[in-house]
């Protein structure tokens, strides 16, 4: 029988479930011996959350029940274990990059030149990010782009999980745009793109107004996806690049430039005209989930809400 998932976590938060001392303990392990010491300590932590914190384990089931329909019992438990372990390793990797330096990870970027060339044109570039893999692996490359990089990023008050640059006390190499600010940061994003800069926006998580979204079927059920990135691409003429930073080994990552999409100016309005572009992104994300099912880190009910699929 499939476990019943509580419908109380649709409001996603970036706050870590771990306590401050737990984070500090792992930072200490990384400083002492890097990944080789930190990774083994993840086993008891992950098992603790799987066995003694079913509320946390069940958060993985929203996605996994759709990705692996019909899986129950030990097979379902194992899926949750793999997903939570992967997330935990990516958090360790994030700290690892900050503490030991970016060269600690072997990151390959097969289509890196394409992205660098897009950024160098000066027509602005939108990088559509997703909760996949470890972003810190990609950030190293982003800092090498020959244009300023702005990130639409919210960090909840009281969040103790550090970004990689915070470990070394460095100044943030990117300009942060607060999505909870005036008009969701749209004014700053337009200004950045019009001056030819790079703007990174999450494409898979809707925050704020439900109206600025479209419902598209994802893994067989409708999900409301945000439209800000697509609207920006249409209005400013900036191309939109979909990037996935995937873990390929214990200390290696590969950044996939999955697709570059140009949105026609005439499709800026009405919002329904953005649907074909959004469909392309969702299809790309589904393909990724098919190939790397445990690297899409979704721990909230993105399928919640009474949404009528238009497809």
């Amino acid at each position: 029988m499939t476990e019943k998932i509580p419908h109380n976590s649709e409001n996603w938060s970036s706050r870590s479930v771990g306590a401050n001392w737990q984070h500090r303990f792992f930072y200490l392990l990384i400083r002492l011996g890097g990944r080789h010491i930190a990774y083994p300590f993840l086993y008891p932590v992950v098992l603790y959350y799987l066995i003694f914190r079913p509320d946390q384990r069940l958060k993985s089931r929203y996605y996994l029940n759709l990705r692996f329909p019909g899986r129950t019992g030990f097979a379902a438990f194992k899926d949750s274990y793999r997903m939570i372990m992967n997330l935990s390793r990516s958090l360790v990797d994030r700290a690892l990059v900050g503490i030991c330096g970016p060269e600690i990870l072997k990151t390959e970027f097969p289509k890196g030149d394409e992205l660098f060339n897009l950024a160098a044109t000066g027509q602005g570039l939108i990088i559509l990010t997703t909760h996949v893999g470890c972003w810190q692996a990609a950030m190293i490359y982003l800092s090498k782009l020959k244009r300023p990089v702005h990130m639409l990023m919210q960090q909840d008050a009281g969040d103790i999980d550090r970004h990689y640059f915070e470990h070394s006390g460095e100044e943030n190499p990117f300009h942060i745009i607060d999505p909870t600010g005036f008009l969701g940061g749209t004014v700053e994003m337009v200004a950045a793109l019009k001056q030819g800069d790079v703007v990174c926006i999450m494409g898979d998580r809707l925050k704020g107004s439900q109206e600025n979204s479209l419902a598209v079927d994802f893994l067989g059920a409708p999900v409301k996806f945000p439209l800000a990135a697509w609207k920006l691409a249409a209005v400013t003429g900036a191309p939109l690049a979909i990037l996935f930073p995937l873990k390929t080994g214990p200390d290696s990552y590969r950044i996939d430039l999955a697709e570059v999409i140009e949105v026609d100016r005439k499709d800026a309005r009405p919002l329904e005209r953005l649907r074909p572009y959004l469909n392309r992104y969702v299809k790309t994300l589904e393909n990724l989930c098919a190939k790397e099912p445990y690297q899409f880190f979704n721990f909230y009910d993105m399928w919640s809400g009474k949404i009528e699929s238009s497809e």
Binding site: V187, V190, A191
Partner: protein
Amino acid sequence: MENSLNEQLKKIIIEELNLEDIEASEIKDDDPLFGDEGLGLDSLDAVELVVLIQKHFQVEIKDMEEGRVALASISSLVDFINRHKEA
């Protein structure tokens, strides 16, 4: 001069943002542009409005603080355009 700019702005907003069932004369100069009251524009409309201002009046709204003041109403937008055109 300022009044004609007000009217021009209202027409641009109505036409380019495809606002239906509203005439330029119905928009008050001090009505809020965004939010539930006034014109009721949202953040995605702001994306277009910022680009429209640049296209029609060659002035740029560069950051959140500037935007917060400039995009409050038609009057504040006219003030912003006039100030930046003079500069």
